[in-house]
Amino acid sequence: MRRSTLAVFTGTGCRACEHAILDIHHQVASLTPAAEIAFWPFVMGHQWEDLERLSHLDVCVIAGAVCTEDDRHAVETLRGKSHIMIACGACAAFGGLPGLANLRPAVEEHAASAPKEDEPPSLPRLAGRVSAVSGVVEVDYVVPGCPPTQGLLWAALQTVLGRGEATSRVSFACGRLPESLALALTAGVLPRKGTTFGGEKAVCASCSRVKEEKKFSAPYRPFEPAQDTGRCLLEQGLVCQGLATREGCGGLCTAVGAPCRGCFGKATDIYDAGAKMVSAISSTFDTTDGKEARAIADKFVDLAGTFYRYTLAEQCVLLSRDRKE
């Protein structure tokens, strides 16, 4: 059986996604019968010429955001050569934390003129706006998260590289995936293009915290109250985005007392995560008086930076460049 050729690349980001692939440890090596790593600069030291020489890649796993002209060139080149492209992590899928820079204009840009004799080499020009990979080219699959959980990442790699040889090792991931995706995974059939390797429901569905009644008279910030151990953070007045965020992480953040910030992107059927959160939170105000409601609303800070913490570049409808609806 011919082995699939695999590329792994990060634009501008923190390498945590590439570490996440490496951290599957021994299992990564077990991909060897199915995959030949043709381009992975971070680990294998491949150069750009190596990529230029490749006529075709079967699978490309791409992480990081697009912040420079070099990032854009890399993304477009890899897309042109790859049969399947997986956006790995929140930066590649939605712009991630680097995308928050779009809330503030860039102060200066380095010029990218051709270097002259005896002058130091130039730098790739910074893009005026940070984009996700999915905002530059079409991606086939998304593995969300900051960084992606290893179970889901392994499931995605098994699915696109394994060709029907998925084994019991992916059962953990299957248990967290929508049924159609889990079936495709175990059968070795490629899922529908555009599929996200995550759950269909919201994080609240897998959060272990006790939910009672969502009513609060004032929002709190994490440094203000001592939290009730085990109770839903939103019910305590802490802004937690679990109800608008795609499930799949198992409630990692809420389990350690940290509110969800949406690194898996918006949940299925949600049009805009920020709008959903505004709607959901305002319906929990424990008042019917307009002035009181306004006073509560005024206590919220940095709504854009909170509700679109990882998704501002691609999932904020108000900032979307090609809004259709």
Partner: protein
């Protein structure tokens, strides 16, 4: 003039390339960071309590120093169990960081994704076993970091005044197991690396013996908590309180790299020439092991003594010494883990001090992270929204040392007439223990 571009460098946390221009006057080497996340733009306007999570994109240790800066801002001293959890997390991050560097060193001349049975059957069986040990140590340290921080790469648990969670019975037992296993693995790794890798000069083309004249070293003194600057002979040049770090260290920007260079402000920026400049300093494992004071754990102390003897033999620092410093700190971290990872350290009546209302407008903290010295300072408004942020990531920004190492590696490669691929490999491996 002939120009060569080596793009991109392996194991570099940021997109990095080397540009070499050769002319009659000699070779000029530029270590270019070609993109970086603009942390300042990302953080301005955010609620300050969110910064431990946001700044962790720089490295996991930034999560901890950010939480410490919040402690300072909110004047909230964490309770003892919270301090132990943070300390335990930091040591797990040390072990994971150093094990990963050593993993990369082992993979530097071999495809890490070759099938295990093929690797195991080759002539370098010992290295194959060492690779397995290293991966196991890394995996265990990451598991500990996941338990203590919520996630290993971008931790979540540290908050203003403490930590946001308590541990469970199952965690205490698992952490104890992890600490014991990690310590055993680390001690074995220290022995095996010395025997099979670091003594094996020819397999690394002699680059492990490549020597540079060191600039000053900057560390956080364990005993006094002061920041100490020492010269190449180990003599104190300056000592100051951590709160003064942003007065004492400035950043210099060059048009050919996005990463600024840290230098000692009082001396002023004098360029990259270590021979002439006393404004540069280096940070990280070698800086700490050589100048950060005695290590208090037995096996690591022994290894530190051996390293001191090696260093005393030459005026410069070698790549080998930098890798040995990683081993010393790996062993020290795992020995500390074994001491700290006990149930009694992690239990108590509270895990977080609710910050007082007498909040200040500035929060500052410094930390010795696995990569080197880091510092955060935040300025906030009355609603605790970030108005200004200063982040010193000396391990990344102090890449003047890395420029010197890269320049030296290029000179060595040219003297030996190495091909570009060999030159690149030499640069990558020589930079690995310093970044």
């Amino acid at each position: 003039m002939q120009s060569t571009m080596l793009q991109t460098l392996r194991w570099s946390e940021q997109p990095t390339r080397i540009a070499v221009s050769v002319s009659a006057g000699g070779a000029e080497t530029y270590l270019q960071v070609t993109s970086r996340v603009d942390v300042e733009r990302v953080c301005l306007g955010r609620p300050v309590e969110e910064l431990p999570r946001i700044t962790s994109l720089l490295s996991p240790a930034h999560h901890l120093v950010s939480a410490m800066a919040l402690d300072n801002l909110f004047k909230a001293a964490p309770p003892e169990p919270a301090l132990h959890i943070r300390d335990a997390l930091l040591h797990a991050l040390f072990a994971a960081h150093h094990a990963r560097k050593l993993y990369f060193l082992l993979c530097s001349r071999d495809n890490p994704f070759r099938e295990f049975r093929l690797r195991a059957a080759g002539p370098r069986v010992a290295c194959h076993e060492l690779l397995t040990e290293t991966m196991s140590c890394l995996g265990l340290a990451q598991e500990a970091a996941a338990i203590l921080g919520g996630r290993p790469d971008h931790p979540l648990s540290a908050v203003a005044g403490g930590v946001g969670m308590s541990l469970k019975q199952v965690h205490y037992e698992r952490l104890t197991d992890i600490a014991q296993s990690c310590r055993v693995l680390a001690v074995k790794m220290a022995h095996d690396f010395s025997e099979h890798v670091l003594n094996d000069g020819p397999t690394h083309d002699g680059l492990l013996q490549m020597e540079i004249r060191p600039p000053h070293a900057l560390t956080l003194a364990q005993e006094s908590g002061e920041v100490v600057v020492r010269d190449a002979h180990g003599q104190d040049v300056d000592r100051f309180a951590p709160e003064r770090i942003f007065e004492k260290v400035s950043l210099h920007r060059e048009a050919w790299t996005y990463e600024p260079f840290a230098y000692l402000a009082e001396t002023g920026w004098k360029g990259f020439d270590a021979e002439a400049s006393d404004s540069l300093f280096f940070v990280g494992p070698l800086s700490r092991v050589c100048g950060g004071g005695a290590i208090s754990t037995p096996r690591a102390e022994e290894l530190q003594g051996q390293l001191t003897e090696i260093l005393a033999a030459s005026p410069g620092i070698t790549v080998e010494a930098a890798f040995r410093a990683l081993l010393v700190e790996l062993v020290a971290a795992t020995e500390r883990m074994e001491t700290i990872y006990r149930q009694e350290n992690f239990v108590g009546p509270s895990f977080r001090t609710v910050p007082s209302v007498e909040r200040g407008n500035v929060g500052i903290a410094v930390l010795e992270s696995p990569g080197g010295f880091i510092a955060h300072r935040y300025h906030v408004d009355d609603r605790a929204i970030v108005q200004k942020i200063e982040v010193l990531d000396a391990a990344a920004e102090n890449n003047a040392l890395c420029c010197l190492v890269a320049r030296k590696a290029v000179e060595e490669a040219m003297a030996r007439n190495l091909r570009p691929a060999q030159t690149r490999s030499m640069i990558e491996t020589s930079l690995l223990p310093f970044r």
